[in-house]
């Protein structure tokens, strides 16, 4: 009887530990997508899990990218062309590998930096052995709501940071372009004005010799 109780406890702990797999931490990555390239990411999701895919183009060209999300059977759940920023929430209807791809195949020479955040399920609980039999106290529920509010603050901060990075990279591009352009144009001005004078002189020099030859 003692061994049976022990084995049941082990089995329950194993099941509980595996149940925690339903709570998977979100993945947030920023990567560079070269021109004419496509990058795909895959994730194994359990049925019934609520997932959110959020992406934003940070730098490059017109700040747009194609995004496509497919379920394990290949059905397209989300497909958008040339989108700058979007957020898509869905509940997994099937078990298996979900695939999402970012494509820059429409662009010939600009490579883009893309940020995406793929949240799967809920955050893992603070205490793995927590028993949810008793309700949360007022303090605990206040902590939970503050935690959720802070999570959304961090999310907004991330998006603000990306927009700022966008603006900053444009400003730095503009700065270098203005520098090169001003030097280049000053040089072109000088060259053109000198060559104009030289060309005009050459016109008059030829005429002079012809007239003298005809004269004599």
């Amino acid at each position: 009887m003692f061994t049976m109780y022990g084995s049941i406890r082990v089995l329950l702990q194993v099941l509980w530990a595996q149940l925690l797999c339903g709570w998977v931490l979100g993945s947030e990555l920023t990567f560079e997508l070269p021109d004419n390239a496509k990058q795909c990411f895959y994730e194994d999701i359990i049925i019934g899990t609520k997932c959110t895919l959020e992406f934003q183009v940070v730098t490059g060209g017109h700040y747009d990218v194609d995004c496509r999300l497919e379920d394990p059977d290949g059905t397209v759940l989300y497909k958008e062309m040339k989108k700058q920023y979007d957020s898509f929430t869905f509940t997994a209807a099937k078990n298996g590998t979900y695939k999402f791809c970012f494509s820059n195949e429409f662009s010939t020479f600009t490579h883009k930096t893309v940020y995406f955040d793929f949240q799967v399920g809920e955050d893992p609980p603070l205490f793995p052995n927590e028993n949810r039999v008793t309700a949360l106290t007022q303090m605990e529920s206040a902590c939970v709501s503050i935690h959720e509010a802070l999570k959304s603050v961090i999310d907004y901060q991330t998006h603000f940071r990306l927009r700022e990075a966008q603006g900053r990279s444009r400003a730095e591009d503009l700065n270098t372009r203005v520098a090169f352009w001003s030097i280049g144009e000053a040089f072109i001005l000088l060259v053109v004005s000198i060559s104009q004078v030289v060309l005009l002189r050459s016109f008059f020099s030829d005429k002079k010799t012809t007239t003298t030859r005809v004269g004599s």
Binding site: M4, S7, L11, L29, E43, L126, E140, R161, V178, V197
Partner: protein, 220 residues
């Protein structure tokens, strides 16, 4: 005995559909995949990866590939290499940023034998956690013997600290942005003045030169 066996099989079964690190992608043999993390200073980053190799015989991905390693290279915002190490097929790397900005984490396989990539694909599971996500709260609770409420407050403190660092970093970035804009403004101003001057000077020079040239040629 029976229960132990069934527990073991259940674990194995669930472990197969529940990999430890969630997101994965495919990488070619000589391909280098880089990820950018824009982080404030004194922020900890923990990266974990796991590789799987395509096996032609079984037409599936093998659980692990012994002998195949991944080279991890991390560059700081000044493009100085802060970490450049070879890890095995499963690896865990960690670093703390000392300067705020864009850090680049690059991964590429160290495979030299073409035969290993017969299928052409290597599956890499990757998980990068930044800042307060790197804290392992159950571990902290056990170490410091915190109650549930204390642990929750600790988590909130860590989150607020991260927000504070990010705001600080934002102020530094905005300063840089402002400096760049002001420099562009200055450059445009000086360039327009300089160009006007050049135009006027070359115009005057052209007229003077041509006038003297025509006078010499007795055309004027």
């Amino acid at each position: 005995m029976m229960l132990a066996v069934s527990a073991a099989t259940l674990t194995l079964l669930l472990a197969w559909i529940c990999p430890s690190y969630a997101l994965y992608f495919h990488i070619g043999e000589t391909e280098k995949k880089c990820f950018i993390e824009e982080i404030p200073d004194e922020t900890m980053v923990i990266g974990k990866y796991r590789t799987q190799l395509w096996d032609k015989q079984t037409s599936s991905f093998l659980p692990s590939t012994p002998g195949l390693g991944m080279h991890v290279e991390i560059k700081d915002p000044d493009t100085k290499i802060i970490l450049s190490r070879q890890y095995g097929s499963d690896g865990r790397f960690t670093f703390t940023s000392h300067t705020p900005g864009e850090h680049q984490i690059c991964l590429h396989s160290n495979s030299t034998k073409m035969a290993l990539f017969a299928g052409g694909k290597l599956r890499v599971h990757l998980d990068i956690q930044v800042g307060e996500h790197t804290n392992n709260y159950p571990e902290i609770a056990a170490k410091d013997k915190l109650t549930e409420l204390q642990l929750r407050v600790r988590q909130l403190l860590d989150q607020v600290e991260q927000i504070q660092k990010e705001q600080n970093y934002q102020r530094y970035r905005e300063e840089r942005f402002r400096m760049t804009s002001e420099s562009t403004n200055q450059r445009v101003l000086w360039w327009s003045i300089a160009q006007t001057l050049i135009l006027i000077v070359t115009g005057i020079w052209q007229m003077k030169h041509l006038k003297s040239f025509f006078e010499a040629k007795k055309l004027v």
